[in-house]
């Protein structure tokens, strides 16, 4: 994999910097994770974080909204900001020489946003439009609703918020969320690319050194969902099926075994779901499974979209395949997972954006960075026995099943 140069520093106010110096790229990318995601929305104010993530770039420090966009465009910054469950994340990439000026602007956004009252309605309307779009896209809706049912609230709630709550949210709620969430002590800045650590460290000290430490807030209580089977009637062309079951979270000693188990099901076109559901039976165009989670809790989420008359068979075959993997796995299946891991780890070194977000996310989950060599070693050491042991310890069972479409489906009682 080649030597990776990963360096970290914690500033006096608690802000964490994680960097990776990369060879062969001209760019520098950043991922700033501020602990202000949707789980911190007040009940009946779900959507506050989403509005805040939009309003916060509508003017900061010396810039009004338009000046701020222009300044970042002039620096060639390709950027994105948005709310997830735990964070509001600001990410971007530009030519390495522009990094310092770019971070200065982000310093203004994080520390001195205007949160202009006169633009609050527009911001809220934008959030409403995004939520309406999900209502119109049954595939997306299926996954949003599946997460709601399989993760405890507030982690499983849609990070864009709830349509019915938006009308209750005021500018004061958004300002309060900013005040309580935007502080340096839990914020992580990941930077990767053609950079010098000492220079970057100094830049961050100059920009964020005066950002005041504030005591964190209380973490929200977790409320589990009890119901397991859901159906929403919608006049869609296809039936959209979501299936979820338990897995281990990122950071767990068995995480890479869990990753391989899901890879055997859905990694690449020779994987079991693609082969059995699509290639052998032609039941659908899209069928997939992925490993996802929150701190301390992992899930496998599956999706299949199919026309109504074939939906029952699609659900049955998909569930069978999820269970059947416990009966045994081939050496060759695991080898293919290892090959895919090797190539994706090597290729991740071609993307400063991918590395910046990886190292920041690693710090959040693990308080350290796993190097590509360490991941590679963990994966190459996996054996079929170890993966199968994992599957037996965490079997595909106790499913949450959600369907959106013209007709409800029958979930076999013996496996759910």
């Amino acid at each position: 994999m080649g030597k990776q140069l990963i360096q970290t520093h914690q500033f006096a106010n608690g802000l964490t910097l994680v960097t990776e110096t990369m060879e062969g790229v001209q760019s520098a990318a950043f991922s700033i994770m501020v602990p202000g995601g949707s789980i911190y929305d007040e009940p009946h104010r779900r959507g506050t974080a989403s509005i805040l993530s939009d309003l916060i770039t509508r003017g900061a420090g010396p810039y009004n909204s338009q000046q701020l966009s222009c300044a970042l465009d002039d620096l060639g910054v390709q950027r994105h900001e948005g709310a997830s469950s735990a964070h509001i994340t600001f990410s971007g990439a530009t030519l390495a020489g522009n990094l310092g000026e770019t971070l200065k602007i982000y310093g203004e956004i994080l520390k001195a946003p205007h949160l202009p009252k006169d633009q609050f309605d527009a911001s809220r309307a934008g959030t409403a439009q995004a939520l309406l779009s999900v209502e119109d896209d049954p595939r997306q809706k299926a996954m949003v609703e599946l997460k709601r049912r399989t993760f405890p609230a507030p982690w499983g709630l849609p990070s864009d918020g709830e349509l019915a709550d938006l009308q209750h949210i005021t500018i004061k709620d958004v300002q309060a969320q900013y005040e309580s969430c935007f502080h340096p002590n839990e914020t992580i800045i990941g930077i990767a690319g053609k950079i010098d650590f000492e220079e970057v460290k100094q830049m961050i000290e100059e920009i964020f050194g005066d950002w005041e430490f504030r005591a964190g807030r209380e973490e929200p209580d977790l409320v589990p969902e009890e119901e397991k089977i859901f159906f929403t009637e919608q006049e869609s062309t296809q039936s959209h099926i979501g299936i979820a079951y338990d897995a281990v979270p990122y950071g767990h000693p068995d995480y890479y075994a869990a990753w391989a188990a899901v890879g055997i099901l859905s990694g690449g076109m020779s994987s079991r779901l693609f082969t059995e559901v699509r290639e052998k039976r032609g039941l659908c165009y899209t069928v997939s499974a992925s490993l996802t989670g929150m701190p301390g809790l992992g899930r496998v989420l599956c999706y299949a979209g199919t026309t109504t008359e074939r939906a029952q068979e699609t659900l049955d075959v998909t569930l069978q395949e999820l269970v059947r993997v416990g009966e045994g796995i081939e050496e060759s299946e695991l080898e293919r997972c290892k090959a895919r891991a090797k190539s994706s780890l090597v290729m991740s070194q071609e993307s400063s954006s991918s590395r910046a977000s990886s190292i920041a996310r690693d710090w959040y989950y693990l308080q350290r960075v796993t190097t590509l060599d360490q991941i590679s070693e963990e994966i190459q050491q996996l054996t079929t026995k170890r993966v199968l042991d994992y599957i037996h310890t965490y079997p595909a069972t106790n499913f949450t099943v959600l369907t959106i479409g013209p007709q409800p489906l029958e979930v076999p009682s013996d496996i759910s």
């Binding site: 530009t94 439009q129 119109d136």
Partner: protein
Amino acid sequence: MIFHKVQLKNGLQIIAELNPHAHSVAVGYFVRAGSRDESTPVSGVSHFLEHMAFKGNEKYSADDVNRIFDEIGANYNASTSEEITLFYGSFLPEYIETAMELLSTLIYPSLRKEDFDMEKKVILEEIGMYDDLHSFTAYEKSMQTHFAGHPLGQSILGTVQSITDLTDDQMRQYHTDHYLAGNLTLAIAGNADWDQILELANRFCADWPAGTCDRPTDEATPAKNRQVIIEKEIQQQHIMQLAPAPAAQDPLRLPAELLSVILGDDSNSRLYWKLVDTGLAESAELGFNEYDGSGTWLTYLCSDPELTESNLQIFQEIYDEVNANGVTQEELDRAKNKIASRLVLRSERPMGRLSSLGGNWVYRQEYFSVEDDLKLLESVTLESIQELLKKYPLGHSTTAAVGPMVTIGD
């Protein structure tokens, strides 16, 4: 970066932009065949054939193709547009021999009847999937209406009826007619050795049938004020509008790309500030699409149905203003900066270079390095934008709407 090109005796063109420092290599076969090359009875065959390519040949079964690609950890796939079917993959440099052999296998598949019948079901599911994506429905209907009577109006996916009726013999005939070596370009970007590429290409491609296909590329002359409205009980209204724009071979295409960024980019553009920033619309975009011999301005609006009319009025006001007065030097410079940054960042990955490398060659028989592209971008002036607007003013000839609305004013 070192550029190489060669043409095999059968007409296959091979181009490569090699970078010994890259971690990976990307390889793509660009086949000059898409929905515009189909006759009505075989509508959707190019795309269906793209799926069938993965079913293997005499040497490799469908399972083999997928399995071996996965064994080398390749990222691979294919796509079909109105004009190009592209088979591509990126992988670690040590696997180039296996990857080239497999990608070459895709170009001449066996097209077995039982595979054809099974894959037909998958294609019908794909049509169903797109039917639930309302912006796609609006796009497809706008293309069909705008280009009515012109080959570019033909659907990429085909219809449930045309796919159901299609036979494997018809597909074989289409394959024989279009998959001729002279109709193909093999493009390679990233870490590979040119001599090895030549050796592999000769081994896997030299016996492919020679020949090329003619494609009529007359510029479309769409009728004005055509509308198609599809009512659906959904929350948002989707509107696509098309108007003529420069073709892929027209030097005005670069000014057109810049103008689409100035007006219709998804952030910091004129439409963005008037419609998205204000919360009036979820999306308000102007795109520029180039084809062989024709081009389109594509206006897309997604918003609350009740705001559609007033939002379209805002589009019209912005277009009228730009048609009359052009844009400012500051806007032009900013758009150049945006595109330049995207170009440079994308080029850091071989896979990011492949589409522009192949696309430039297929449409224009030209090679542009990233530096060349940046220079070309720099050469665009306000005068060239004026020339563009004079020849291809912003506006719309065609409107397609998907959503709750039953009428759209013009």
